[in-house]
């Protein structure tokens, strides 16, 4: 197992390298000159040339790439062109809200989606199942900002059960955290609840038709044990895949939810960086997102091996 993890980490290196190349080229091949952008309106050609020199933009591309990559490996992502703050510091500030929100949303997702999916599969074809299917279509097709504003309207401004915006870390105490973060977490989770509930249902229906389920019933086990003790684990592999990639998507792309609830997270940082053509920041975000996906895929593979003894990595 450890050998497998080590080999997977090694084989991830080229992937990360390719992502770095793409991130680098993307910015340098895009139209527009960063030096002009930084210098602002009315700057003279000499000023622009000076900026270009100070940023190393006058060097040949390969040289620039090596310089950039070397500092990247040392954890130096450069300095933001807009705010003049080190990129790593910018990203670090924004990481906590996003990760906390994603974890909370994923917890809600799993607590709702998996039992609901199992129930729908167990009662396949009956009204409960049809209701779950209908709800999941709605959950999946409703735009996130609509859900967000509906929740704010109902539970924020009307009932006043929850805060309508802002961020509180779990470190600020459980009650303030739940008060502030519950509505954004629910908003973020609806799509994933719909997706994972359907996935669980489909996978469970397939497994419930297997012979060993009949064996489990013939042993006199209760339905609860049959469903959760025997069927769910066998149905888990596709569900784990969706959970993993869903989590990666939550962290890398929660722009709308963060905007609706005014949470200072990665999603809004991405938008700001792109709008401001903050090249070092954009590059760093692309590379880190790539690394995140590689890491989560590795975790998914490890989860497969833990779930299913037939999967042996050699």
């Amino acid at each position: 197992m450890y050998g497998f993890i080590f080999r997977r980490l090694l084989s991830a290196l080229p992937v990360v390298f390719i992502i770095a190349v793409i991130a680098f080229l993307l910015v340098h091949l895009a139209p527009g000159d960063p030096a002009v952008a930084i210098a602002g309106d009315g700057a003279s050609d000499d000023q622009i040339a000076a900026i270009r020199r100070s940023l190393g933009l006058d060097q040949p591309l390969p040289v620039q790439f090596v310089t950039w990559l070397t500092s990247l490996v040392q954890g130096d992502f450069g300095t933001s062109m807009i705010s003049r703050i080190p990129v790593s510091q910018l990203i670090l500030q924004r990481t906590e809200p996003t990760v906390v929100l994603a974890l909370y949303a994923m917890t809600i997702t799993l607590l709702v989606a998996v039992p609901v999916g199992v129930l729908a599969a167990w009662k396949s074809g009956e009204w409960v199942d049809r209701l779950v299917l209908a709800m999941s279509v709605i959950g999946f097709s409703m735009p996130v900002f609509v859900i967000g504003y509906l929740l704010i309207g109902a539970f924020g401004t009307n009932l006043r059960w929850f805060a309508v915006q802002g961020y509180k870390s779990p470190g600020d105490g459980l009650i303030p955290f739940l008060y502030t973060m519950t509505l954004p977490a629910i908003t973020l989770s609806t799509t994933y609840i719909a997706l994972i509930a359907r996935m669980t249902r489909a996978s469970m229906i397939e497994i419930l038709g297997e012979d060993f389920i009949r064996t489990a019933r013939a042993k006199g086990l209760q339905e609860r044990q049959v469903l959760f003790g025997h069927a769910l684990r066998n149905a888990a592999v596709p569900i784990i895949t969706v959970i993993g990639s869903g989590f990666a998507m939550m962290i890398s792309g929660v722009v709308i939810t963060e905007s609706v609830f005014n949470i200072p997270g990665i999603g809004r940082l991405v938008v700001d960086a792109v709008l401001g053509r903050d090249y070092p920041l954009i590059q760093a975000l692309i590379v880190l997102t790539g690394v995140l996906y590689v890491a989560i895929n590795l975790l998914i593979d490890i989860a497969y091996a833990i779930t299913d003894p037939r999967i042996r990595y050699s």
Binding site: F212, R217, A218, K219, Q222
Partner: protein
């Protein structure tokens, strides 16, 4: 439920009285009608019948495991000792299962949870039905596994199902079923998926445990050979009704019903007919020094070693052997679905083993294949016409001509040309296998490879398909490579046989010579293990009933 039902005598463990089952939704189509039988402690009752006879429904109804959305019991009673299980609450039924009645199934490969150690799966029965402590449970699990003669039970308990052989898994199933010493064991085709020698071991294990614990056994099978070997009493079922019922000696030796006679007459005899003359010296397929080595996880596994044979035009060559003998790998190599590691493969005079991809594409039409399971080998979303003409169209034949040919071939295999516009699900298993054969003939192949092509069929249908294959060989002169584990089928269809064991050919001769004067001990063991050795005379007596129409 009728009022005149009386509970059975004391020594009777299971008494099924007038059981009726219908489909649950829509028009209530009768599935079982007035089925009655008794089983006493220590006795074995075999229910024998073809697919759709209702034999499995009977066993599932007894366990209370009928799919409620599809089937419902509409009348009768099932007494387990003195308790009518049809009146039992769901909770009571769960208590009865495993403790008073248990069940083992056909497919040991899929009947165990792949993600749980087998020891844990046996232990679950004890967890739910007893108050034993963890230590005692462990001891009971080890005892149960050693009672079914699994080697190193302590080690076995920690293994996952995929680490066991098919026979070992069925032993685990039996250990699990008998862990609480139930009064009744229901065995639904428990040996059908196993090799003959494994089958014999499992049957004798069931017998041994039955004697030891005085268990009543309800044994469901389609195999008359198994019936003669293990039954005390026999129930012959057909289309949801009991056709004939009595002690095994009576039913087998002196059947009174036409249907029973037909079933017995359909059993392929182990004694092959006199060999046919060789009509053509032409060779359709010549295999020499065939080797196939796989490298799972880096270690070489020699699946096929130095296999050589010649198959003449218009001949049928059987490859027989148990699972793991390499017979299917030979078939896949001949089809060039696997590239042989070494050896030559000459089809109608030209060596094809080293063909390029493009040349191979042109070659493929000369060897066609018929698979085991006709329910899965035809694309369910395509009409028969589409399935049949796809091959010729790929080779550039005009559509109209291909359709005409498809219609002709369907008639050759005994189906109306109208079948072209229907879908696979509109046909029975036997009809689908006929379609699969017609499809294989569409490209005028030199050789047809039939991999267990009649193994999934009921005996009466099997007899018809065997006759069809022989007839086609006669009329079209095509050569057949016939892969089978069933010596009875091989005896009836093959001209020549090669016997394979662990990747090597151990015997190769005419069919008659191999089966009547086997030279190798392995061949002798295989013949010895084939169930119902004394059925041949019975079968020959009722041969004429095979042609009975349903």
């Amino acid at each position: 439920m009728s009022a005149d039902i009386v509970s059975a005598a004391a020594s009777t463990v299971l008494s099924v009285r007038d059981l009726s089952v219908t489909t649950a939704s829509g028009a209530a189509v009768p599935i079982l009608q007035g089925v009655s039988f008794d089983i006493r402690a220590g006795q074995t009752l075999c229910i024998v019948g073809e697919s759709g006879s209702g034999k499995s429904v009977t066993s599932l109804a007894t366990m209370g495991l009928l799919p409620k959305a599809e089937l419902s019991v509409t009348g009768g009673a099932i007494f387990l000792d003195d308790e009518n299980v049809l009146d039992a609450s769901p909770a009571r039924l769960r208590r009865l299962r495993a403790s008073r009645m248990s069940m083992i199934f056909q497919e040991p490969m899929t009947a165990l949870n792949p993600l749980m150690t087998v020891g844990r799966q046996v232990e679950e029965v004890l967890c739910y039905h007893t108050d034993l402590q963890a230590g005692e449970r462990r001891a009971r699990v080890i005892a149960a596994l050693s009672e079914v003669h699994l080697p190193n039970p302590e080690d076995m308990a920690l293994r996952y199902p995929h680490q066991l052989s098919g026979g070992q898994r069925q032993r685990v199933m039996i250990a699990m079923a008998l862990a609480l010493n139930p009064r009744l064991l229901i065995a639904d085709e428990p040996t059908t998926a196993l090799d003959v020698s494994t089958q014999r071991q499992i049957l004798s294990l069931i017998k041994e445990l039955q004697r030891k614990h005085e268990t009543a056994v309800l044994f469901i099978t389609h195999d008359m050979g198994v019936v003669t070997d293990i039954a005390d009493n026999v129930v012959v079922m057909r289309k949801g009704r009991v056709v004939e019922h009595g002690p095994v000696a009576n039913v087998i030796q002196a059947p009174t019903e036409r249907y029973t006679r037909k079933l017995l007459g359909s059993i392929p005899s182990l004694v092959p007919p006199m060999p046919r003359e060789i009509v053509s010296e032409r060779l359709a397929l010549e295999v020499a020094g065939l080797e196939k080595t796989f490298f799972p996880g880096g270690n070489p596994v020699r699946a096929v070693q130095d296999v050589s044979f010649k198959l003449g035009t218009g001949r049928i060559l059987g490859i027989v052997g148990e699972s793991g003998s390499g017979k299917s790998t030979v078939a896949r190599c001949v089809m060039l679905l696997e590239r042989p590691t070494a050896g030559s493969l000459v089809v109608a005079g030209s060596d094809v083993a080293g063909l390029s991809r493009e040349a191979l594409r042109m070659h493929r039409r000369r060897i066609q294949m018929v698979f085991q399971d006709p329910n899965r080998s035809l694309n369910p979303r395509r009409k028969i016409a589409q399935t049949m003409i796809e091959g010729p169209l790929n080779y550039g034949a005009p559509k109209a001509e291909s359709l005409r040919k498809a219609a002709e071939l369907l008639e050759l295999v005994g189906l109306p040309a109208e079948a072209l516009s229907r879908y696979p699900h509109q046909f029975s298993g036997g009809q689908r296998q006929r379609i699969a054969i017609a499809r294989a003939l569409m490209l005028d192949p030199e050789v047809i490879v039939a991999d267990e092509a009649v193994s999934a069929l009921d005996v009466s249908v099997q007899a018809q398909v065997i006759r069809l294959l022989k007839d086609i060989r006669e009329r079209l002169g095509v050569a057949l490579l016939f892969i089978t584990h069933d010596l009875r089928v091989a005896a009836q269809i093959c001209d020549d046989i090669i016997v394979m064991q662990r990747g090597v050919v151990v015997e190769s001769n005419t069919c008659r010579a191999v089966l009547t004067q086997p030279a190798h001990t392995y061949t002798r063991d295989l013949i010895e293990a084939a169930p119902g050795r004394d059925l041949d005379q019975v079968s020959r007596r009722w041969e004429s009933y095979v042609h009975d129409i349903d």
